[in-house]
Symmetry: C2
Subunit: 615 residues, 2 copies
């Protein structure tokens, strides 16, 4: 039953040899790897506006343009720097791999923790923003955002990724281009209407340049920090160089430039329109939706924009599903996470990582009630930490290699590292109390966990390891010892018969033990045992406190103390397997208890001879 259901949901198992990648042409790669970066124009400019407008009594549109332009400058530096990363790592590999190679364990673990946090947030932010887009268009759905988010996570993203869909599938290509087309049409129409239409007027006091005091500067920097969420995902292409067609690095570079150009254009366009149309925060309606409604009314074009925005954002969430399970597998293979995160499931996907990501993202969404604005406060800091580490690693890389023109490359990466490091500082200061502290607490915790797990695996493998001498000497010897079999019994039954039959097969020294809280009953059992005469000694233990387990344990423990180091005691518990699961509730679980208590004794083995009731 379970197996059939599983088949239906995730399909039949795949053979090892089915693990292969199709090489992607640029136009496909662009749409697949940049859905995360490009879709962020759906919330990035809005976040800048929200932060600036939140200042009481001020509508600080005046500062939107400089903030947006600073972000684009930052984007330019990071892209130039990441093109160097792509060239140097034709094998791909994210911040963790690059840092491990060039900077050592600690920076690599910091990167792993940051990227972990960031991927989970990518999934959470993108799904909630996607839902916000569709809820803006269909207000009837308002109030069910969290339910929708969780359904998309479990019912769509988790399931599709457990099945393991090829990244090259057109299902991933179409939404991105459809979204691009919609946004470009929106910007074009919006700008055109802005020129021919009546000018939108703000009250003069809000158009006046605001006083630029320290408080205002803080707000502006926070707007910048929130706007940086638009830059998450630009590293995706550099991390995926091996997926490109030949020449891989060159194609990846060209695609990165294209991505950056399109992102810049859309980001500027949307920011301009938000400023021109004086978009203000409205509950349960996104800024994009307001824009689209102002420009297209509630026409088919409006719904097209909202629908493709939703699709591309869910697709952006999917990039976390491509990235995180793979990262977890690499980290797990290095022993910093449970091993089973690195094994491929039936469908060749890293199933455990996929489930972990889904649970973590769902928890975040539920904790933040699916509120994109609050989730954004946690966002971006992780990605900028990993940017900084990856680029710093590259500086070391170029310095070590000292190939032709290494100074330029090292300078570009160094500049990138310095700038993104500065951004980390800005985000930390301006968003600390707004949520960034969560991530800054999470990363050290993760590093502690990584180290603890690695430590456990290390001591474990030391303890399990057979000394080399064993292989050199060969012909392993096993010291002989005595073997005592203890069978706890209530009274002679078929189960006891089967158990003793097995006991006689595995040992010669057999003891039956009966614990009794009732002297009369004990006498009857002794009498019956004598009549039955199975050739096994019966020991009776009185228990006036009506406890069965403890006297039995004392008896076994006493035996344990008396035995030699190579002697074994096997405790065989006569148990019956009931035909129906609920029948099990009708019997006490002595066997289970005994097993869990005795498992701690050296050289004591607890086993059961399950007797199968047929009725």
């Amino acid at each position: 039953m379970m197996r059939e259901f599983r088949r239906l949901l995730i399909g039949k198992p795949l053979h090892n040899r089915e693990l292969a990648h199709e090489k992607l042409p640029k136009w496909k790669a662009l749409s697949i790897f940049s859905s995360d970066a490009l879709s962020s124009v759906a919330y990035g400019p809005e976040q800048i506006m929200l932060t600036l407008v939140a200042v009481p009594g001020i509508i600080a549109y005046g500062f939107m343009a400089p903030v947006a332009l600073s972000i684009l400058l930052l984007l330019g530096i990071v892209v130039l720097s990441y093109v160097q990363v792509a060239k140097a790592n034709p094998g791909g590999g994210g911040a963790y791999a690059v840092a491990k190679k060039n900077l050592g364990e600690m920076p690599a673990l910091v990167a792993a923790g940051s990227v972990f946090a960031d991927y989970v947030l990518t999934a959470a932010v993108s799904v909630s923003a996607g839902t916000a887009a569709i809820v803006s268009a269909l207000p009837d759905l308002a109030g069910h955002e969290v339910t929708l988010d969780v359904m998309v996570l479990f019912g769509l993203l988790m399931l599709v990724n457990l099945r393991g869909v090829r990244e090259s599938s057109n299902a991933f290509v179409i939404p991105t281009y459809a979204f691009l087309f919609g946004v470009i049409a929106l910007i074009a129409t919006g700008v055109w209407k802005a020129f021919i239409g009546a000018p939108y007027l703000l009250p003069p006091e809000s158009l006046a340049r605001q006083q630029l005091d320290w408080a205002m500067l803080f707000v502006i920097l926070r707007a910048f920090a929130n706007g940086c969420s638009s830059m998450t995902g630009v590293e995706a292409i550099a991390d995926s160089v091996p997926m490109f067609k030949q020449p891989e690095a060159r194609n990846a570079t060209v695609t990165t430039y294209w991505m950056a150009g399109i992102l810049s254009f859309m980001f500027l366009g949307i920011t301009y329109l938000v400023m021109h149309y004086h978009i203000l925060p409205v509950a349960e309606v996104t800024a994009m939706s307001q824009l689209a409604e102002q420009i297209f009314d509630r026409s088919a074009a409006y719904y097209y924009i909202q629908f493709t925005t939703m699709l591309v954002l869910y697709l952006a969430a999917n990039t976390a599903y491509n990235g995180l399970p793979m990262l977890l597998a690499i980290v797990a293979r290095d022993g910093y996470l449970p091993r089973y995160l690195s094994t491929r499931g039936e469908r060749l996907t890293f199933s455990n990582g996929i489930i972990l990501l889904t649970l973590a993202a769902a928890l975040l969404i539920i904790a933040f009630q699916g509120d994109t604005e609050h989730l954004i406060s946690l966002y971006a800091i992780g990605v900028f930490i990993s940017f900084t580490i990856a680029q710093a690693s590259m500086v070391v890389h170029w310095y070590r290699q000292r190939g032709k023109g290494w100074q330029v490359r090292a300078f570009l990466n160094g500049l990138g590292a310095a700038v993104t490091g500065l951004v980390v500082l800005i985000i930390t200061v301006t968003k600390f109390l707004y949520g960034a502290w969560v991530v800054l607490v999470f990363i050290p915790i993760m590093i502690y966990i990584f180290k603890a797990i690695r430590g456990h695996y290390n001591t474990m493998s030391e303890q399990l390891h057979l000394p080399e001498a064993c292989y050199e000497r060969g012909a392993a010897t096993f010291p002989k010892g005595k073997h005592t079999v203890i069978v706890p019994v209530s009274s002679p039954t078929r189960v006891v018969y089967e158990t003793i039959k097995y006991a006689k097969m595995i040992g010669d020294d057999i003891l039956a033990v009966h614990v009794s809280d009732n002297d009369e009953l004990a006498k009857k059992v002794i009498e019956k045992w004598k009549l039955w005469d199975p050739g096994v000694e019966l020991v009776v233990i009185r228990s006036p406190y009506r406890l069965l387990m403890r006297p039995l344990l004392h008896f076994i423990e006493k035996r344990c103390r008396e035995k030699g180091p190579n002697d074994y005691i096997t405790v065989i518990i006569p148990e019956f397997e009931t035909r129906k699961a609920w029948h099990r509730l009708l019997h006490n679980q002595t066997g289970w208890f005994l097993r869990n208590t005795l498992i701690w004794k050296e050289n004591v083995i607890v086993t059961t001879v399950p007797y199968h009731l047929t009725k």
Copy 2:
């Protein structure tokens, strides 16, 4: 740790011989066994009022007196009848035991189901009414009723009863007498004030006799049915005859009369006061509280009444804790419920029954949001069904015995049975839609469960039973068979070494099995195995679908099909026990899986040789 905590909460284990009962004098017995019956005046008259006042536009005080008097008449008949029950059953025993002796299995199970439902409701109703009393006095607690109820159930009743307090404890005697004193003072003062004070006037139309049409009759009968909740608990004395001092039956009879007299007086008094002071339903304030406030204002006397009411009601809930676990133990001993309900725990109490009752009552309270009125709708029907069955049994009993004056006794019990049977009918008809259906569905379900459990135990004991011939013949023989030991291994480690050491001790035919999804790794393992040379054959199974369990299972299943009926296969899983519990999360649970899958195979034993990691 767990054991110390347990000690602290419920005390140290008690010896069998500490199970003894103190014989109770009448004054103690009265307070202990009638807290349930007497405390019901805190909600009984209120329920009559609530039902009559609920009729739109009518304040049917006019019908309160006849309803109350009918209930007292009923009480008289039931008490006379139950005195006969006490005389005939000096050994005590509730409806279940009496019905089983005289009427047979089915009526006994109906009685068991009804009493079960009724005890759970006694706990739920009494606790919620007790909380209502204290919330009326301290309105700040309003809104937290369910929390308080659940705290009282788990923190007070369950814990005290798991410890097992002597029923003779003064802690149980004082609240009942304190409550009696308070209620009698309330009635006396109330009546005195009613004579000297200004008369309370109702608008004439409500004082006028209402039209007695069918609808009104239905309401009156429902008021009567709800008022009958005051009669639950009157059977407690007759069920507990052996607890009395000599002469037991006589003392029990006298105490029953006293109880009935006091109950009648208080019931009439409270009903009169409710009518005279025109008490109407007020949210979160009980009728008793309104009365006490009208008569005493918010003086110390008022708080005394509310506080003792709360105490006596919680004490009434405790009678369910005396009765139900004992009933469950008797029913379980007859095989109709899981056996472990009949074993006494460390403190000689029926711990499992106590926990079951607490959970069931808490569930009811949570489901009904601690609303006494709604819980009352389910109440009383169970107790009246058991009244009817117990008294009908007595008729059969007297008829069978035909001792001196048996006709009178049989008539009294027959009258009781007929009258209470009629009440069952009235409750069913008038409260069916208000909640009685829940109980009427619950009882057949319980009977089905009783029978299913008994059926399972019967077939089980048939299957486990050794034929008598085994005892007559003696010197039991055990056929010999082959024994194969299979050890799944990953690669040679210390765990594998220990496992093979044990395997060599319990059998001669040993096979090591390695499942591999990677040909290169498999080659290495084979090589290492040859070098190590433990004297055990290694079988390698390829698994290109990366599944480990299924190929192993197929291998074992194939072996199973080939073996003879007396052959055994032991699968020993090399497992290590991690030193810390969380470490276990870092390893896959193959052993657990394998055990749960192979437990269904005949003559296949799965065991583990736990290797203890020390670091």
